[in-house]
Symmetry: C2
Subunit: 158 residues, 2 copies
């Protein structure tokens, strides 16, 4: 019976698994975390809530590179990580456009959001367009290969 | 002077761009959104907050396929989208393992979280290990090519 108790226990434990946070990881080219964090802060207004540094650089007093950073944006948390901190991830030298990570940002002003991102180095992936729901949609690829889709809710009845 | 006013106006608008929500998009193979939603609901306890259907199937009364769904998980929102709804995205027939999207889930029981995901069809990407902070870390690739990294906070001092 003991064996059965053990497996029941394990099954019960699995069913009770709960999660307290869900964070998307954006993996960027080596040594580009600082640039990406600056981009997301200045263009989207993201706020940094933590970071980790490259260990080995501290010895030679140069400004230590960021290895990863945690950012808060519109109620969500995401991580910006240096590709070297995730050895199993094979990333081509230039991740621009071939990064599968896509995030949606809801805003009242899609045109301004696209313009601001493009001013800061993003590339327009499609023109801003009206969507069935009455809102608008725009899409850019940022300098780190991440796709951002901006959408605005349907305008409220006047 | 009018031209200057216009550009000042546009610049002011750009600086005032604000975002009310940030949602990660998980792009899955054609017709797999329903399977992915079931997986995320049963394995992670995600809750559906909306969806859109394939338009053309309604005519022939078959159960219409999900085109996209919005899920809530641990305070975050993410979208599961059928690859065909994003024509510009070139995805190989089998996205398993080559999908760059990675999400982190914080939980008290990394082993149970990994076991539950593997039971439901995910593949262990690395063994569960202790991390410097005192917590644990586990990593799986789900049947839809998305990588999930489970981490537990450092155990509180006793």
């Amino acid at each position: 019976m003991a064996q059965e108790d053990v497996s029941n226990g394990a099954a019960a434990e699995k069913s009770r698994v709960t999660f307290t946070a869900c964070k998307t990881q954006l993996t960027v080219e080596a040594h580009k975390v600082s640039d990406a964090v600056s981009f997301y802060k200045s263009v989207f207004g993201a706020v940094e809530s933590g970071h980790s540094l490259y260990p080995k650089r501290k010895a030679d007093q140069e400004l230590p590179h960021l290895l990863s950073a945690e950012l808060l944006l519109a109620g969500s948390t995401f991580l910006v990580c240096d590709v070297s901190s995730h050895s199993t991830l094979v990333v081509s030298a230039k991740t621009e456009g071939n990064n599968m990570t896509t995030l949606h940002l809801v805003t009242d002003d899609v045109e301004a959001a696209v313009a601001k991102a493009v001013d800061a180095g993003a590339v327009k992936a499609e023109e801003v367009s009206e969507v069935d729901s009455g809102g608008k949609k725009g899409k850019v690829t940022d300098p780190f290969g991440v796709t951002w889709i901006f959408s605005s809710p349907a305008s409220k009845e006047v």
